[in-house]
Symmetry: C2
């Protein structure tokens, strides 16, 4: 199930994600390719393609003319970019891009050792140390990303060269860890989910077996990294193997109940676990996934779908600890939460998973990229104060404006590959049901399976109306159309050709059964009233505060719209909120919200015995994903509310 | 001026500080002595007296029978304890304690090298490295504390042995840094303020000269620590000399405008600067002190008088960044702010300095010690949440209950020496004026200067009435009595023998001129209404929130008084507040405040589209200094306020 079956078949040329699809093709992928080739002035150096060139040279000649540069997992940037390029090529044939991809893949092939091993850090720099430091050295992580790229490239372009390369590496890993019984499991999970994809793409059982192996041994021997450190005697970052939570290895995965440690590692692991649970029917594993997903979404997730409350360890902290200004909220972690939720949706069809997926996509992930596609956030706080954010020692990570690139550049290509494959999340197809999870405009070609096309027409999230136009080639398309009804839509109307439609609601989906003929139109009208959302009073940071949402969009106040002072604003309880027309020129097209509120005086004295005076005002709010596109600026999502 | 002239002469036997005076004598000093001697089970090891024993042994025999243990500045714990003991002995003669102090002082003398050098870390462990790492190794800091102890012990007991020892060390330092022109200045300021005390106590100009030297060279050569690191080749903690803010060495002190870096170092430095400005009339230095004091108190100070917003570097961060739960707010730093404010009060007589001094004393400092005197906080947050505080990686420093002792035990003996010398801050005496800065009950013996005694009678801070009873031996005492009128007292009544008194108000003091005869009573009635205080909306953490104060006491809500859930409480704007009778059995005697407020429902769902429901409630508040005395418990100072 899943894995791009629909990516090739879903044309996203219009609407909200049509712009992103085009941006990825025209700007993001070319920009990132130049970044990877170190051609962007003033950006952090990448060197990652160069690393492959040197590895190839060294394998051919015995030496190379330069030094490895970058993070120990620098290879994964190439992988993620290639994966994004593959998705884009599926939608937008581009002979030049494909040629360059093929060349990079050739280079990757040349950088592969005879036994299948592939990793430029070790090949170029530390040939004697491979497989000695699983906790830190990320060989399995890099392999996982390249496997994902290989599967995507094969499925999207039909070209199997990278897949063959990566099957070679996967076989190498299989031999080492399964056949030869080598100890250990990946410090940074990723290979588990990648192997599940490889298994589905190739049908080779041993890849599933290998994925299950890594899942099953994790945390069973929770001292593994301690012994490994003693044995190997070298460190990448000096990570402490006693910190077992950091690597999700304190207990066997089926016994883990709290999402802990490095947030990206956690959700990548859970994604692999959920995928494996789906493929194997492992109920215990499925239950652990549900427990962990619930723990995240009910105790450890920002309203933007971002996760990771602390810079320290880029990590989850404790239940109900969600600081806004010091949030880590890594773009990659929100992406990982989408992966995890998507697999949960496959595992246990329930709209709640899609609700979180959508929340993370429209907020936590999209905010990770400048609207023009050329700058990126690694960290996505929910409150930004120039002078403190990015400057105070406690806020060095929480930059107030997006940089061009990063020394650790995991996030930018991750955004690219996600945005180029939204159909994977938008649609799920089972034997008899077409699930519409996210409302992304485009045309889905189901000729092979259902004998026709379905086109989804909408200006969502800036319109509440979603239309499904059916276009069978001959006879009507016989399928159940399951449309997710978001939890926030309190009053949803579904019609079929203008008449009230027959449907049944189950677990957050409206199921319309039957045959859909030519010109059949199903119309969903969501209830997209502006709403205030409140955090449970378990969470200290947001007591007395509200945030404004409309549909899937979280809104925020920025200084530039609010007299450069948002800290003295408060929302009026039960106050009026109005929404602008669609403003096509503003922030690439948004609707602003104007909320009735108060502006308080700002006392000169730090502490005063006089309550600040207040006067009514209108607070201008913009979608959170657009913040930080207008220079250095205050930003706040959670705003005090008073009567 | 200042420096214990009045300590010996002020008997604090009753009232609020009478309890503390007795506690310090009966519990704190004996407890800490046992801690220093490693006699407390389950407490962190100190070993600091043992270090002196070994240093003495080594100097005598050429070797010693153990190893140095503890922080590089472990000596200073002995010094601060001795200083506290000296103050206590001045009030409470205790032959046994004095004998033990004398023995320790003898040991210190035996640990002094022939050239005057005194430091057990270097003598025992690193004899060849002395004076090579001023940034980290704290030799000057330890010397400063022992000088303070020496001055105190001499002034309080009349015994000059320690003073002679420390004059020897001060002379050694003078030779090195002034006569021989050695480069450098202390990484941890303290010796400046200590040398000013030594100068006043001995009258030796060279100690003032040495203090001025360290003040004057600081930051002039702002690369000093960088060169030092290159030269010395060893580190204590790996401190980065490029971080010049951390050590207040980025610019010459007279050009510094923001309080930066390690908060204790900063305020110790500023204390020395203010003292030096007072003694030398250096207007530029005085102006820098005023600028820095203003920066702290208007941008970087918690309402409890605590300072230091970040664990990282135990440091100030940026203007208007005052997080409550992750505050560092070190007890020592609040004590340092008292020192600094006290010197500012000498420098420029204005009640605002005493207001801050009092705020820090009754809140930020007193909270640093368990009410029974046997446990201590290093960090004093303004919000504590069990499960997060002390547990999340971001909150490891913010313990929710007081430990018995610390590996780095700077705070406990600092509290002891401060509490044993409150008269230094309570009273200032100039040629013609007796300043009453803090309202601490006790009897001041001014027989030598004014021919009589003044006794201050009050149950303050739990009563608003303060009486000054004059008791001249013969003729009336001719003096101006200057009584500080706290800024929070909006309606103050001053009477003399029951009749409206003649007085003039200037800079926060009421001046009563004239002759005070036998049985003359001046009565001050302060306006101690409960008040809400608001933080300027420049500060994000407290927007929409209020705190409750009464007189100098900041109040807080603890879970134990409020159904174990304080996060769902909000104060009612303009709501009624009532105060209990004095409860002698509760928390060693307090008055509780009951504030009209609301209790909101706590949503099960992390995020909800429904505003929490609220019902009226009464919030019980207790003085901040008493928090954490009833087990693991929520605590919050700043509470959301709504209409």
């Amino acid at each position: 199930m899943g894995d791009l079956k629909l990516v090739k078949k879903f044309e996203v040329k219009e609407g909200f994600f049509g712009r992103y699809e085009k941006l990825v093709k025209d700007v993001v992928l070319p920009y990132q390719e130049r970044a990877l080739r170190d051609q962007i002035e003033g950006a952090e150096k990448s060197h990652c393609i160069e690393n492959f060139r040197m590895a190839a040279q060294k394998l051919k000649t015995g030496s190379c003319d330069g030094e490895f540069y970058g993070m120990v997992f620098q290879d994964s940037d190439v992988a993620k970019w290639l994966e994004g390029a593959a998705y884009s090529l599926a939608q937008n044939p581009d002979a030049q891009l494909e040629k360059r991809c093929d060349e990079i893949i050739e280079l990757i092939g040349q950088a592969q050792q005879e036994d299948g091993y592939l990793n430029t850090y070790f090949t170029v720099k530390e040939p004697d140390k491979r497989w000695t430091n699983l906790q830190e050295a990320h060989e399995l992580y890099c392999a996982g990303h390249m496997i994902e790229a290989a599967v995507a490239y094969a499925e999207c372009t039909g070209k199997r060269r990278l897949l063959e390369i990566m099957c070679g590496m996967a076989d190498h890993i299989y031999r080492r860890f399964v056949k030869d019984g080598a100890e250990g499991y990946p410090g940074h999970p990723e290979i588990e989910l990648a192997l599940m994809r490889l298994y589905r793409s190739t049908g080779e059982e041993r890849y599933k077996e290998l994925a299950m192996h890594f899942i099953n041994v994790r945390g069973v021997d929770s001292d593994y990294y301690i012994r490994e450190k003693e044995k190997c005697g070298w460190r990448v970052w000096g990570s402490d193997p006693e910190d077992k939570e950091y690597t999700q290895s304190a207990a066997p995965v089926r016994q883990q109940e709290k999402a802990v440690g490095h947030a990206v590692r956690a959700v990548y692991l859970y994604t692999g676990m959920a995928d494996a649970a789906m493929e194997t029917g492992d109920q215990e594993l499925a239950k652990a996934c549900e427990t962990l997903w619930h723990n995240i979404t009910q105790h450890r997730m920002y309203v933007t779908g971002a996760i990771g409350s602390a810079y320290e360890g880029e990590a989850f902290t404790k239940d109900d600890h969600l600081p806004n200004d010091t949030a880590y909220a890594e773009t990659c972690a929100a992406i990982g939460l989408i992966f995890f939720s998507n697999k949960m949706l496959y595992l246990a069809r329930n709209g709640k998973y899609a609700d979180v997926m959508e929340w993370a996509l429209y907020n936590g992930v999209l905010a990770g990229m400048q609207l023009d596609g050329t700058k990126f956030f690694y960290v996505n706080p929910l409150e930004v104060l120039p002078g403190i954010s990015g400057e105070a020692k406690t806020h060095k990570h929480a930059l107030p404006v997006r940089p061009k690139w990063f020394t650790c550049a995991c996030c930018p290509p991750n955004v690219a590959r996600l945005l180029a494959s939204v159909s994977e999340y938008a649609w799920h197809m089972t034997e008899d049901t077409l699930y519409s999870n996210l409302f992304i405009a485009g045309t889905l070609d189901l000729t092979d399976s259902l004998g026709g096309k379905v086109s989804l027409q909408t200006a969502y999230p800036y319109d509440h109306k979603i239309e499904y136009h059916f276009a069978p080639q001959e006879k009507a398309m016989s399928v159940s159309l399951a449309i997710r009804i978001p939890a926030w839509s309190k009053d949803t109307k579904i019609t079929r050709n203008g008449m009230a439609a027959d449907y049944e609601i189950k677990d957050g989906y409206a199921y319309l059964h039957g045959d859909f003929g030519k010109d059949d139109i199903v119309t969903v009208e969501l209830d997209m009233q502006m709403q205030k959302v409140y955090t449970s009073n378990r969470v200290s940071a947001n007591t007395g505060r509200a945030a404004v949402l409309r549909g899937p969009l979280v809104y925020c106040a920025e200084g530039v719209d609010n007299e450069n002072d948002i800290l003295s604003l408060s929302l009026k309880k039960d106050g009026r909120m109005t929404i602008s027309e669609y403003l096509p020129e503003k922030l690439c097209g948004i609707q602003e919200i104007y909320a009735e509120g108060y502006r308080e005086t700002v006392s000169e004295e730090l502490y005063s015995y006089h309550a600040p005076e207040e006067e009514p005002c209108e607070i201008t709010l913009v979608p959170y994903y657009t913040w930080g596109n207008r220079g250095l600026n205050q930003m706040r999502v959670w705003i005090p509310e008073k009567k």
